[in-house]
């Protein structure tokens, strides 16, 4: 497969995951806001969301309308839901002949739907909720179409890889923001706080799955354990690490590259850590540090994927 094609499939997938994550996070929190009244609390919340989405914070970010517009439908920045969709489509467009017609058609319709929203002057809360719901549903549909209409070949694995890396980073950043400055992990204090933990789980579609393991008794340490170390839940960081390692292994077979190369060793180490580490140890030694380490390992894997498959030096390829 062309290196450029691998690159585009990888980024198409990362941008879609980003659009879905942002849409879900915003949807969960804007619904939550309806049940609350404190203005200062709201502003603090928005700042936290911006941090969790790795959006640069500007003074006017606190204003609700500006905030929503910036992060949903603004096309001048790279982090809005609309921009992520546009960039995903642009990447797909560059490799149209490598994805199925059904995939292209679905993604194209998602894009047409999203830019159409820009024409609405004052978006109501209900319209916004519909928008987020549509975005999430259509991206899920796209994933279903991808799985059932595209060969599960090297290109498909680059798509899985992109999603795995993007999701691992998003979830670990989100956890990092939520757990910042916390000292007690074994219970939650007020009802208000309960809503915050509920929101965290829902932002990862994890509430129902969590209750099936731990019941509806929300505890920060258990939530951290679930979102970091659960083996079976698709939004847990461990699940992502497993998927990254599997995809890289499949790509190694397809490209006949060595499984002992640095990128595979690094992915294997991340996977092993998340498979064997215990939440109590992690919390004792510092959750923040642990999450930072995961983010940095993901960044290194990304860099090595480029050096191995996409932007390798030509001289070494000719001599090899």
């Amino acid at each position: 497969m062309l290196s450029r094609v691998a690159d585009s499939l990888y980024w198409m997938s990362r941008y879609l995951e980003r659009a879905e994550h942002t849409a879900r996070l915003l949807d969960v929190h804007s619904i939550l806001m309806l049940e609350r009244v404190s203005k200062t609390e709201d502003n603090k919340r928005w700042l936290r969301i911006l941090e969790a989405l790795r959006v640069p914070v500007t003074p006017e970010s606190g204003d609700y309308d500006t905030f929503i517009n910036t992060i949903t439908l603004n096309h001048n920045n790279s982090f809005s839901v609309l921009s992520a969709i546009r960039l995903a489509r642009e990447n797909a467009r560059q490799v149209r002949e490598r994805i199925s017609t059904e995939m292209w058609s679905e993604l194209n319709q998602l894009y047409l739907f999203a830019i159409d929203m820009r024409n609405i002057a004052n978006i109501s809360h209900g319209q916004l909720h519909d928008f987020f719901t549509q975005v999430k549903n259509r991206i899920h549909t796209f994933q279903g179409i991808t799985d059932s209409t595209m060969s599960h070949n090297e290109g498909w694995h680059f798509i899985q890889l992109g999603r795995g890396i993007e999701r691992a980073i998003s979830v670990s950043v989100l956890l990092d923001v939520q757990y910042a400055g916390m000292s007690r992990f074994d219970s939650i204090g007020s009802v208000d706080e309960y809503f915050e933990w509920l929101a965290l789980l829902k932002s990862c579609t994890a509430f129902e799955a969590y209750t099936k393991v731990y019941s509806a008794d929300l505890r920060p340490d258990r939530i951290a354990e679930f979102l970091l170390l659960n083996e079976e839940f698709p939004h847990s960081v461990r699940f992502c690490a497993d998927s990254i390692a599997q995809s890289l292994s499949a790509i190694a077979s397809a490209t006949s590259t060595s499984r002992n190369s640095r990128v595979h060793r690094l992915a294997g180490r991340l996977q092993a850590n998340l498979n064997f580490d215990q939440i109590d140890d992690i919390i004792r030694e510092g959750l923040h540090h642990y999450l930072r380490e995961i983010q940095s390992q993901c960044a290194s894997i990304h860099k090595l994927v480029y050096e191995t498959f996409i932007a390798y030096p030509v001289d070494s390829a000719l001599s090899g």
Binding site: M1, L2, E90, E97, R98, A254, G320
Partner: protein, 481 residues
């Protein structure tokens, strides 16, 4: 939304040949069924079907890029709902005529880049070739696989008022539009399933397969399973949709210049598994931009060293470099002579009568009759650089007069020909619009013409310009068995 009134009251038969009618409300026999069905449908039904077709084009992203605008740079390719139908007997003539013409043009290219017999025999003046900007000195003496220079051709035909087809232009460089031929068919089959079944329409969906076999036939060193790629200028090219479409139909890699590199005269593409050798390139990049070392040095679309790899015989290009010399509009006037010279035959399909401005007598005639003639720059295509005398202003004619006097070699003129008209569904009624026909000819081991083509329509009333950049659209073209 239109109301359900009669479809044909506005249909005007002019001096042009009409594809559908011989007289008001009297269709030609092979259009009879279409005529009946359209009247049964009525405007409302047609309108609904048109909307379904619109959506189908939009959702599939069958679009072209409009240059010079930021937002909304993609538009769906304008099309007309009603098919253009070509009778089997007519097609038979076209098939033989085009095969003859392409054979002669290919022999001509091979000749001028080798022995130059046709020049020595003074059939075609040397100066004419050497002053053509598309003539490539670098190609002199270069042997190419099977001597096939023009593997993919899209010839523009028009129909004269007497019903005869004539050749307006040979497009021998990188003709486009074939994806619209295929997309039109795909959409129309869903829009008019029943009518489709009742007409015995010859299929065209194997175009991709024929094309890939054509390209395979060009493989250097006689390898049987060559690596074939399609080289595109990239996503911002107006025909990018077509490039992706064809690469997918053929199951080959779509590459950009930056995906390729040349080392020791061998072309490689950069893949996730390392470098892979490339044998045949179906290039949709113009000569000028192919190789910054050999041609335009400011090109970022090409591949450095590609021309040397080509000359060394390590890679095949389709079409070959330097084919533009044979579709120069002044050289065009000599094609009937080429057919006679190389094949000893009379042309089956004629040229349009053409005045070449570099001959004094003809230039004087052109300058005296600017208001009656169509003047064209010889190297331009796409409807640019053109004067349509009868529809021009005095100011435009003056501009062209100056240009012709300054650079007569660059201009030819033709009588204003009323292209034939065909029925189009416009604003709830069926009206007559001018059309041409571009069949696609593939030349590998043999010459193959997929039965069909792109019928281009001048959608503006009375307009004779069918190019998509100038308000033209297209129609599905049915060749009957």
């Amino acid at each position: 939304m239109p109301t359900n009134t009669a479809l044909f009251p506005q249909y005007q038969l002019g001096s042009a040949y009409d594809e559908m009618f011989t007289a008001p409300n009297i269709p030609r026999p092979h259009y009879d069924l279409l005529y009946q069905r359209l009247n049964e449908f009525g405007a409302d039904e047609l309108y609904h079907r048109q909307q379904a077709a619109d959506l189908s084009f939009l959702h599939q992203g069958i679009t072209f890029t409009v240059y010079g605008r930021e937002e909304g740079t993609e538009k769906i390719f304008p099309y007309d709902l009603l098919p253009r139908i070509i009778h089997a007997d007519e097609w038979d003539i076209l098939e033989r005529g085009l095969t003859q013409r392409i054979t002669a043009l290919n022999l001509f290219l091979n000749d001028i880049y080798h022995d130059g017999k046709i020049l020595r025999d003074k059939i075609i003046p040397r100066e004419l070739l050497y002053t053509c900007p598309h003539y490539r000195r670098e190609m002199r003496g270069v042997n190419i696989p099977k001597g096939v220079y023009i593997s993919v051709v899209g010839t523009d035909l028009i129909r004269m008022p007497n019903g005869d087809f004539v050749v307006l232009e040979d497009n021998l460089r990188v003709p486009s539009g074939v994806s619209y031929m295929l997309a039109n068919r795909q959409v129309m089959r869903n829009v008019f399933p029943k009518m489709f079944a009742n007409y015995d329409v010859r299929p065209i969906h194997n175009y991709g397969q024929v094309l890939v076999n054509t390209l395979r036939a060009l493989a250097p060193r006689g390898i049987s399973d060559p690596t074939i790629v399609l080289l595109t200028p990239g996503v911002y090219n107006s025909a990018y949709y077509e490039h992706t479409f064809l690469a997918r139909e053929m199951g080959i890699e779509l590459v950009e210049g930056r995906d390729l590199l040349v080392h020791n005269n061998i072309v490689y593409m950069r893949t996730s598994a390392g470098l892979r050798r490339v044998d045949v390139i179906y290039r949709r990049v113009d000569d000028d931009f192919l190789d910054p070392l050999a041609f335009r040095s400011d090109s970022t679309l090409g591949v450095s060293g590609l021309f040397n790899a080509y000359r060394a015989g390590n890679v095949a290009l389709a079409n070959a470099i330097g084919t533009g010399v044979a579709d120069d509009k002044a050289v065009y006037t000599y094609v009937p002579h080429m057919i006679k010279y190389y094949l000893g035959e009379d042309p089956i399909i004629n040229n349009v009568e053409t005045y070449v401005c570099w001959e004094h007598a003809q230039k004087d005639y052109v300058l005296a009759n600017l208001d009656k003639l169509v003047v064209k720059a010889v190297g331009e295509s796409g409807g640019y650089g053109m004067l349509i005398g009868p529809q021009s202003t005095a100011e435009e004619r003056d501009q062209f007069r100056q240009r012709i006097i300054q650079n007569p070699r660059n201009y030819i003129a033709q009588p204003t020909i009323m292209l034939s008209t065909a029925p189009c569904f416009i604003d709830g009624r069926v009206e007559a619009r001018h059309v041409d026909l571009r069949p696609y000819i593939l030349y590998g081991d043999t010459i193959t013409i997929v039965p069909g083509g792109l019928t281009r329509v001048a959608l503006r009333k009375g307009s004779l310009v069918v190019n998509s950049s100038q308000g033209g659209g297209s129609k599905d073209t049915w060749v009957l068995r």
